[in-house]
Structure formats: C-alpha cells, structure tokens
Symmetry: C2
Subunit: 375 residues, 2 copies
C-alpha cells in the first residue's frame, strides 16, 4: 500500500496539531474553557472571512449550512435567483424548491463563469465541481443596488481564495470545515450581515435546528450554542485558525495563487487542458485527453503512488480531474501530483517523453516571487 497523499478539494489534509487535539480526551462543552475556545474561533472565522458580522457555527455539513441560509431568509412563496454553473450551485435551487421557494435559475454552462451583470441572490465563490471562480465582487456590486440579499456558497472557496465578505457586500457567506479551514467534515459556518438579520427577523421560522436567531442569541450568552456543538472539531479548528493567523491570510492566498499557476502550467504541459474559463486559485480542474478515461488515471495515480485526486461529478464524471491547492497542500505535494500523472500518462502511451509536466510546474513556481522575500 503506497503512502496516502490526499489532494482532493475537500476533505483535505488536517494539520497535525488539529489531529492531535482530536485525539485528546474530550472535555465538556458547557464550561468556561469551551466558551473561551469558541470565542477565539469566532474571532478567527471573522478574520478569515474578512467580516465584522456574526459568525454562526453549526454541527452539519456544508449542505446543512446552505439549508440554514435558505430557510432563514426566504419564506414559502418567496423568490430566489440562483446563479447556477455547477453541481453545487445547482443545489441552491434543489434546496429552495423543497421549501416552496419560487426559484429562478440562471444557468450558465458548467466551467463558464457567471456574468456579473446578472443580478444574483444565491451564488458560489469557488465552484468545486468545476474549479471556476466567479466574480463575486462584481456580482455583489449589482446586488447591493437592490433589496435582495446576496448569499454566497464559500464552502470550498473561503480561506482558499480572496473573499472580502464585508467589502463585497456578501450578506450570508456559507462555509464548510473540510476545505481551506483544514478540518474533517462536520461543521458548517455562516456569516450573517445586519441586512440579512433584518430579513431573517421578518421571515417565518422554518427550522428549529437551523434557527439562526436562536444561534445568535446563544452567541450573545457565552458565546455558546443552543444545541450540543461538535465541540472537539471546534477545539481542533482553534489550532488551525491560529496557524492561519500566524502565516497571515494574504500570504496564504498568495501561496495558493502561485500553486495554482504552477499546477496549471504543469497540467497543460502534459496535455491536460484547463476546464474552467475563469479558474479558481484554490483548485484546478482539467479535461483528460480524448480516448482516455479520467477514472483510469485517478485509479492509477492512487494505486501506484497513493495520490488521491478527485474526478468529475454529475455530467463531468470520467471527463475531468480535480486537484486542490489550499490548506496544507504545498509545492512538493503538487509537484508529486503532476509527476504521478505524467508517469501514468507516459505508461499509457500518451506521452512521448517524460519531464515536461514537472519542469513546467517548477518553472512557473520559481517565476512567481514568494511574498515577503526580497525580490
């Protein structure tokens, strides 16, 4: 069995300090110790999301946090415009329809970015099914002119690529734990603006578990949570947020940009073309060449080298490969991934000679200066 290298756009590698904290005896969650940890975590989330808004922490996956955003802001019979350009963006519509919302789906082909001149309500920062970064800043500028709330799925994007929640006018940002926050799955986060709180206050209650007003009330008392929190994950998150602060978010985003540029160069040099029209710096999605199945490549790099990449989802199954560059994933992890793909492609007779991918990767990496070093 080869050593495992998890390079999927979630779940992602969990830093050692966080993992070791998960191995500790769990304390109780109704204690001054947990209140202090939770307060630090909330502060750290505001830093990563670039917001002064309340941050809500739920025990659920990202889809649960999306549902929380929907049920708290749109009444039955209310209207939602969904900007849909991938599997996960489509989910906004699926959720909203269950709650009797009149959904207007603005669908653009998967892989394409949404035109900011389309007024939006529910959108996606980084669509992890396609690797597209949408221009949330520009879309936010349009939404801000209206009374509509701007709800953004930052489940995999937040902390991986720039996301200036307050500056861009994002009313609700939805984030998951197993992406750039480098935790196992199990926590969902929402930052909620004052404009959103007013709307929430005027929306009939449609969930008990996901009642954001109850959660907000408990933030004021403690901070704590109305129901039992997944407190060991929150404890582990405190470690990761300290790490993020210590490196500095700007440095992290710059690192991901360098890795993105190098990964794209490496992939293209071995015949894998970029899938996204406006690729996100947190991950890369590439098309596999005609006549070869993406599933075969995935299986080969995993079985031979322990490299775990992601395939396509839904309509893209078998057609694309996806690799993350956020969190703990670093230069040599990605050099390894490109090298593994290169070897497998060569063995399958799809490359005449070896070296172009890893060379292009390294070349791109050394061309982009590391932030904070002298030029």
């Amino acid at each position: 069995m080869p050593k495992r290298r998890l390079l999927t756009p979630g779940p992602t590698q969990v830093p050692e300090a966080a993992r070791l904290s998960l191995a500790q005896e769990a304390g109780h969650h109704r204690t001054p110790e947990f209140v202090a940890t939770f307060a630090a975590v909330l502060d750290g989330l505001r830093y990563v999301f670039a917001t002064q808004n309340d941050c809500i922490v739920l025990a659920c996956s990202g889809t649960g946090a999306m549902e929380a955003a929907v049920v708290n802001t749109v009444p039955r019979g209310g209207k939602a415009i969904v900007l849909s350009a991938g599997l996960f963006a489509k989910r906004w519509g699926d959720i909203a329809r269950v709650f009797g919302v009149d959904v207007v789906e603005h669908v653009v082909p998967w892989g394409r970015a949404i035109d900011p001149s389309d007024v939006a309500r529910f959108g996606t920062l980084m669509e992890s099914s396609t690797g597209v970064a949408h221009d949330i800043e520009a879309i936010g500028r349009e939404v801000r002119k209206t009374s509509a709330l701007f709800v953004v799925d930052g489940i995999s994007g937040a902390g991986a690529i720039e996301c200036l929640t307050d500056d861009w006018g994002i009313d609700i940002l939805v984030v998951g734990s197993q992406k750039a926050l480098m935790l196992p799955p199990g926590l969902g986060f929402l930052s909620v603006s004052e404009k959103a709180w007013r709307r929430i206050g005027a929306t009939p209650n449609q969930s008990f578990y996901f009642d954001l007003q109850l959660h907000r009330q408990k933030l004021r008392e403690g901070p704590t949570t109305p129901w039992t929190p997944a407190h060991t994950l929150i404890g582990a998150l405190a470690h990761n947020l300290r790490m993020i602060r210590s490196e500095g978010l700007a440095n992290i985003l710059a690192r991901n940009r360098r890795l993105a540029a190098a990964t794209r160069a490496g992939m293209q040099a071995i015949g894998l073309s970029l899938f996204a029209e406006r690729p996100a710096d947190g991950m890369t999605a590439v098309r596999v060449p005609a006549g070869i199945d993406a599933g075969f490549l995935l299986k080969q790099v995993e079985q031979r080298f322990g490299v775990k990449l992601a395939g396509g989802q839904g309509a893209l199954k078998g057609k694309i490969l996806r690799v993350a560059h956020f969190g703990q994933i670093d230069d040599l992890d990605l050099l390894s991934a490109v090298g593994a793909l290169e070897m497998v492609l060569a063995e399958a007779g799809r490359l005449d000679e070896l070296g172009a991918g890893v060379t292009a990767f390294m070349q791109a990496l050394v061309e982009v200066p590391v932030m904070g070093t002298a030029s």
Copy 2:
C-alpha cells in the same frame, strides 16, 4: 490542575482506539474503504439498537436528528402527541410547533415516569435531564394498536439501557453519538421501521438536508450518504462498535445496572436522594440536601478532584446533580465520584463522618454478581 474525569451523561469519555483514529490523516469519503467502514457501522448500529430496520447516519447533533424525525413524518397541520417529562422531551413539542404541527403535550412532572396507558407518539427512553427511564416497552404496546408512529428519543438511552427497538415497536429511534456510543458529538442516528417509511413516503418533503428518503436511497447505493458525511467520526465509531460487540451488549447493560445500583446506594448513604421515580440504569440524578447549592458541589468536586459531573437544567438548575454510568465509565470512576462528593460534603460540614458513601457503593457492587462469572 487535577486530572480530568468526565462523568457527565454526554459528552462522555471516548475510548483510546477511537481517539487515536481521530488523529489519523483523514481519508476521502467516496472510496471503497469508507463504504466498507460505513457498512460495518450500520451493522453495528443495528446490533446496538436491536433492530433490522434501516439506520440513517446524519452529520448533526441529537436535536438535528429529532428534527429529521419530525419533518419526515408529520405534515403541517398534522397531529403529534408528545409525552413530556423533562427538558429534552419538551423539545419534541418545540420542534413540532415550528413545523406547524398540532402538538398535544402530555406533561408529567419532571422526575416522574410516564404512565404507559397514555397513548404516545413522541417519547423519551432515558430522559437525561432527570435520569428517568420511561417504560417504552409498555407504551409501545399501546401505540402499536393504533396507526400512530412511535418515535422515541434514545439519544442518551440507547446502548446504555435496554432498548429493543423491533420488539417494542419503536418506529423511529433517535440516537446521539456522544452518549453510550462513546464518540464526540457530531453524529445523529435514526432507525426507521417499514411502517415509518410508508408514512414518510406519504409526507410532503419539508427538508433537503434531513430528507430521510434521500439518505435511504444512498444506503442502497454503497452504502454512502447524500451529503458529505462526518466520516472521521464514523471511522471512530467503527472502533467503538467493535468494542461493544466484543464485550456483548447484554454484558454492557448488566454492567450499567450494577453501576447504577451501586451509585444509588453510595449517593443515598451521603444524603443525596434519588430524583427519578423510575431511575434509569444509564445515569443517576440526585437531589442535593436543603441549604446547599448543587453548583457549589459541582465546582468543588471539579476543582479539587477533576471530577466533572452535570448539574440540573432549566427548572432543576442548582437542585440536582447528574452522573452517568454508561460507556467507558467504570466501577472505580464511580467510586471516585462518590468519594469526591463525600469529601466535599464533609468539608462543608454536611457529614459527621467519612466512609459511608464509598462503603455503600462497594457493598452494593459486590452484592450484584458480575454476569458471566460462576456464582
């Protein structure tokens, strides 16, 4: 800082094998490895819940699993009878009302057990806010005569005290991870009978995240989950379920019964009287003597000895103490708890001499034969 001893009725002590598994590099959840682990976990849950029914695993706390039971089975305008005898039983009504359910609350005083002749729909196996075990078997006998579903909150009871889901006619059993299953919080479980599935199929969809039919469909394909599961917790649960099987559920329940008898004897010998009319074998709730505050005792045993017990909730705050005897909590953990309380009470001038509590505890323990040994 004294060494910590977590003896609360949830969160509870997590076995070392499970904790160490949480410290491992997380794998991906869309893999044959996870499918195999999940299948084993589902099988283990059926063993603990004594059922052949489908078991659903959700990423949420117990309250989320309760919400899932409500929204899948009762339409808006539908009717639910809630048997309420404690803080957590009351929650059934709070949830159901959010979803427009006509709730008939059958309230009995906290600490009292529910009379099985009251036909029930939503009830509680072990009410962890009061330590009462309700006679679910007898109540189930009544409900079975009707077309009503029998939904039981076994969040803290299942695996701690006897719960024969199929034999007792429990249509939906709701369980949490941080109790007798010995995990951190973050997973909710539901076992769902065929009668319940028929009702669910006829109930309009009121949640996307908690849509049990989608979950069931994914159990058939894999088994897997429709949304990202909290897969590291599920991996840790596999260890705990192996441990439970290896000891044998009957032996575990017998052990908890012995510990319950000994704990009650020890507590009563130091002036702490039982709160529950029909005490559960998974935990003990005791009243503190007049003139002494439960909060003071809790603080003393924690600061002096690291013993973490739980206090009263809601109307019982300051009036009762609660200690668990399930999962990893063993004979000497509870001897320690009784001894710590005894010393603190003596120092507060509430006991004339030391030794009665721990002696009564040990006496009761040796009087009850350990199952499986020669008499």
